[in-house]
């Protein structure tokens, strides 16, 4: 097979933008996008709220500087300041570019792109399209990729990097439709596979497929993962399913109310109230529940997100999806009743360690989006910065890969390696010694993570979590794929995804145990304050023979000095 110049793994916002930009940078390149779902199904579509950019359309005094400061402060000073500067200064350009190629942004009265307030932001700078922003961005990018003739390999599941020593030769992937293992020899590979927060399963707002496939593949190939302990819990997940109610609901004026009828955020963020940053609001809800001021139900304890005072018109025009979801999944019409909510694992700040241009430590391997950790979100991501991240750094990674691809000599992937990989997949289907069920292990994984490595963490609990994970990994050796068919074997995919989640969960728990401080989304009850002296640094998790090896990396500072973070 003729080697590709670039193989992009993942067809969400980051992957599609990378593809578009790579084609633009060098139209002569042979580029493929490989995705386990049709690109328009990607989880980018679930982002409801919007993307931040200091366009200064709504608030005339907004500036890129303010956006930079909000992002750094929001990150609890763990973000790399040079990376944040790129993120925020590219933001207005990229939002306009999307407007230029067809994203249907909502509009202000003067016909410019509308912006609304979002958590942790000093100005209303979140550009949106009703509550379907991610969906419309993803559609736009997919349409443009179809227009440009991007070569898609849809429904291919990435299995591993083919590496010879330190030299990356390409990617090995499973063709889901045929069950064949195929080689994608490539000069460069860009990972854009999204986040890993689905490892919390029922306590997660993520799509079933957000299993950290790219991170796990990179990790197993020896590439370090950064800041894996930082998992953001979104304050308002629906009680029963963990599905998300956008921060836009609070941006539009929704209240959080406990069982005593109090707007309890006045205790935790008297100024910003419901629009405090996500980590703070999540902890506040968790505290209310732990202290007995929540509501109770068979599906767990919760608080109310009350939109009833906003009126039917506003809810129907600005939050139609939220209304639909509340009705489908909770049986509650937010026009008439408050929505039952509780925090839900939502976003992975951690990911594949990259520089500001998407490069990893391995030549020819790049990463972007939620799959990567540049880091622009540090210990806590601000709402409206994740869509921005995938656009800005998806584009940058695509450009970098396109510029550098021809520096790497192409190589072939041996037939032997394919055969071995296929045999490894087949071995899951052998009855002898294989008896563990996927569903059971996955359920236990979500449970132990939620209980021991959730919003509130402490050493003894995390250690229990690590023990559980080790036991689960041991049991995984006996897992059985009961479906033995070749065509569209979704049972096999579930098992492969579970393996990825298990490997990554270990890095999350190890990072959480090592980091003896509280910063952003990571809250240690036994180390309740931020410890800048010891922990103002990134953690790096690398796989070696004995499992996770933790290292560290300094935070790149700039104009902004460390400060206490209050809202």
């Amino acid at each position: 097979m003729k080697p590709f110049d670039i193989v992009i793994v993942g067809g969400g916002g980051a992957g599609l933008y990378a593809a578009m930009e790579a084609m633009k940078t060098n139209p002569a390149l042979n580029i493929a996008v490989l995705s386990k779902v049709y690109p328009n199904r990607s989880h980018t579509s679930a982002a409801q709220g919007g993307a931040n950019a200091a366009l200064a359309n709504t608030a005339k005094d907004d500036t890129v500087e303010l956006h930079i400061f909000d992002t750094i402060k929001g990150s609890d000073y763990l973000a790399d300041q040079d990376a944040v500067e790129i993120l925020c200064s590219e933001a207005p350009k990229i939002i306009r570019e999307l407007d230029n190629i067809g994203t249907p942004w909502s509009r202000l009265e003067d016909n410019t792109i509308a912006q609304r307030p979002f958590g942790g932001a000093g100005r209303p700078r979140c550009c949106y399209c009703a509550d379907k922003t991610g969906h419309t961005i993803l559609q736009t990018l997919y349409e443009q990729c179809l227009k440009k003739g991007v070569f898609f390999f849809n429904e291919y599941f990435a299995l591993q990097l083919s590496v010879n020593g330190s030299r990356m030769k390409g990617l090995i992937a499973l063709n889901i439709k045929t069950g064949k293992v195929e080689a994608f020899p490539a000069r460069t590979v860009v990972f854009a596979t999204g986040g890993y927060a689905k490892m919390y399963w029922n306590r997660s707002s993520n799509a079933a497929g957000n299993t950290g496939d790219g991170q796990a593949i990179a990790y197993r190939a020896g590439i370090p993962l950064k800041d894996m302990e930082f998992v953001q819990f979104h304050p308002t997940g629906l009680r029963k399913s963990g599905l998300l109610v956008t921060e836009g609901a609070r941006g539009e004026g929704g209240y959080l109310v406990n069982a005593a009828g109090e707007r309890f955020m006045s205790r935790y963020a008297p100024e910003k109230m419901e629009l405090g940053p996500r980590d703070l609001v999540s902890r506040s809800i968790e505290t209310e529940i732990l202290q007995g001021r929540g509501f109770d139900s068979p599906a767990g304890k919760y608080v109310h997100l009350d939109l009833t005072h906003l009126g039917a018109d506003l809810i129907m025009s600005r939050l139609p999806q939220i209304r639909e979801m509340s009705m489908y999944f909770e049986g509650v019409d937010p026009i008439e009743e408050p929505i039952p909510v509780r925090p839900t694992a939502h976003y992975s700040m951690g990911g594949i360690d990259t520089d500001n241009f998407g490069r990893t430590v391995m030549d020819g391997v790049y990463a972007a989006g939620e799959c990567a950790c540049v880091s622009v979100h540090g210990a806590n991501r601000l709402g409206g910065n994740s869509l921005l991240d995938i656009l800005v750094f998806g584009r940058l990674a695509g450009r970098t890969a396109a510029e550098e691809a021809r520096r790497f000599e192409p190589a072939q992937i041996g037939a032997e390696e394919l055969k071995d990989t296929e045999a490894a997949l087949r071995s899951y289907m052998r009855p002898s010694g294989h008896f563990e069920r996927y569903g059971t292990l996955r359920e236990e994984l979500g449970q132990t993570l939620g209980m021991n490595v959730g919003i509130y963490r402490e050493a003894s609990k995390i250690r229990k979590g690590i023990e559980d994970l080790a036991a689960l990994s041991e049991r995984f050796r006996h897992i059985r794929v009961f479906d033995t068919s070749d065509i569209f074997n979704t049972n096999l995919l579930q098992v492969l995804e579970l393996k990825n989640m298990l490997d990554l969960a270990e890095t999350v728990a190890s990072g959480a145990l090592a980091r003896e401080e509280s910063r952003g989304s990571h809250t240690r009850t036994d180390f309740p304050v931020r410890d800048d002296e010891k922990w103002h640094k990134h953690t790096l998790a690398t796989l070696d023979r004995n499992g996770v090896r933790l290292g560290e990396k300094p935070v790149s500072m700039g104009r902004y000095e460390l400060q206490e973070r209050t809202y």
Partner: protein, 344 residues
């Protein structure tokens, strides 16, 4: 606990999911498997299928991803209607079962079957390409990213609803034209085409329209409204289809394609006689040569079976024609005025 709600348990019932099965590697033809499981009120069809896959039969194959009604992966036919499994409550389906307590689950129609509930989406993607379902921007290359287009709320509203489409293909599955002609453009692609054509930022309106008026395009729709009725996002798809047609007649003129000519002949008959003159309708739509070549055998059969429509002179005007003509004129004027104000 202060003010805690009372704990209550949901109602439970044994319910059978009758699932369409077909694995082309081993099965010579499709069959159904019945799975009877205890289901609690408030559970969706997708969660029931997940339960079956995890606890009963791991080989049942279907697509699912976001589980929140936004990715469009889990389109399937539930009790005969195409919809998303993740937003469909089992309890709501109970009243729609043909056999009490048995919910029938089948793959979407009008797309090639891959396995069980999974169909091939590639033909739909190919059609999106064929009909240029994208914006070709008016912004000069050198200006891209430097300034925004100014878009009025009114213009935004023209395509707002259409951009809700998640390409779940429920409308494609329900489309009655597609059942007869796989080449037909399909409702989802018409909707997307419309959305692009009313967007002022786009520069290839005429190219797209040129493709849409060809064979298997916008004129093939028979207004059955199935697409609109099934749309999981409640998008008025037929408005989009009518919008493209009006646009086509306006921009390209009535003599442009057989579809437009057919519509015109229809109008002419209704205006004159209040009913159709069916005998000459094919000639006025497609011309004499086409009619002789394509419809002569059928016409001969019709003559033999004495089923021919009456010749034009014998078609008497409908009763109350005078009043009808007045109403017709009024309606036409009204529509024209509306079209004019739209354009402003």
């Amino acid at each position: 606990m202060t003010g805690a709600l009372e704990l209550h348990t949901e109602e439970k019932r044994d319910i059978t999911l009758r699932v369409f099965r077909f694995n082309p590697q081993v099965d010579s033809k499709p069959y159904f498997d019945d799975y009877t499981i205890q289901i609690e009120k408030g559970i969706t069809v997708l969660r029931s299928l997940n339960y079956i896959k995890e606890h009963v039969d791991a080989s049942v194959s279907f697509r699912a991803f976001c589980q929140a009604g936004i990715c469009g992966s889990c389109g399937m036919r539930i009790n005969g209607i195409s919809k998303l499994a993740c937003t469909t409550q089992v309890w709501d389906e109970l009243s729609k079962c043909r056999e009490a307590g048995i919910i029938k689950i089948e793959p979407l129609r009008n797309m090639p079957l891959i396995k069980d509930l999974i169909v091939d989406m590639d033909p739909l993607v190919e059609k999106m390409k064929q009909y240029s379902n994208w914006i070709e921007t008016r912004m000069p290359e050198s200006e891209i990213g430097k300034k925004e287009f100014l878009v009025s709320e009114e213009e935004f509203r023209k395509y707002d609803k259409a951009t809700d489409c998640i390409l779940c293909a429920s409308c494609v599955s329900e489309c009655t034209i597609l059942r007869a002609h796989k080449e037909y453009v399909s409702p989802a692609v018409l909707l997307k085409s419309y959305r692009m054509n009313v967007d002022g930022r786009d520069a290839i309106h005429d190219v797209r329209l040129g493709e849409l008026v060809k064979d298997h395009g916008v004129w093939d729709c028979t207004h059955c409204y199935r697409c609109q009725e099934t749309c999981v996002k409640h998008i008025p798809i037929m408005e989009a289809i009518h919008g493209i047609r009006e646009d086509a007649i306006e921009v390209r003129g009535v003599r442009d394609t057989s579809g437009a000519k057919h519509a015109e002949a229809f109008m002419e008959d209704i205006e004159k006689k209040g009913k159709l003159v069916e005998a000459t309708l094919p000639i006025r739509t497609n011309g004499v040569a086409w009619t002789l070549q394509n419809l002569l055998p059928m016409a001969i059969k019709m003559i033999l079976k004495r089923r021919t429509p009456p010749p034009p002179p014998l078609v008497k005007p409908a009763k109350g024609m005078k009043k009808f003509r007045e109403m017709f004129r009024e309606m036409t004027e009204h529509v024209r005025a509306e079209q004019k104000s739209h354009k402003k």
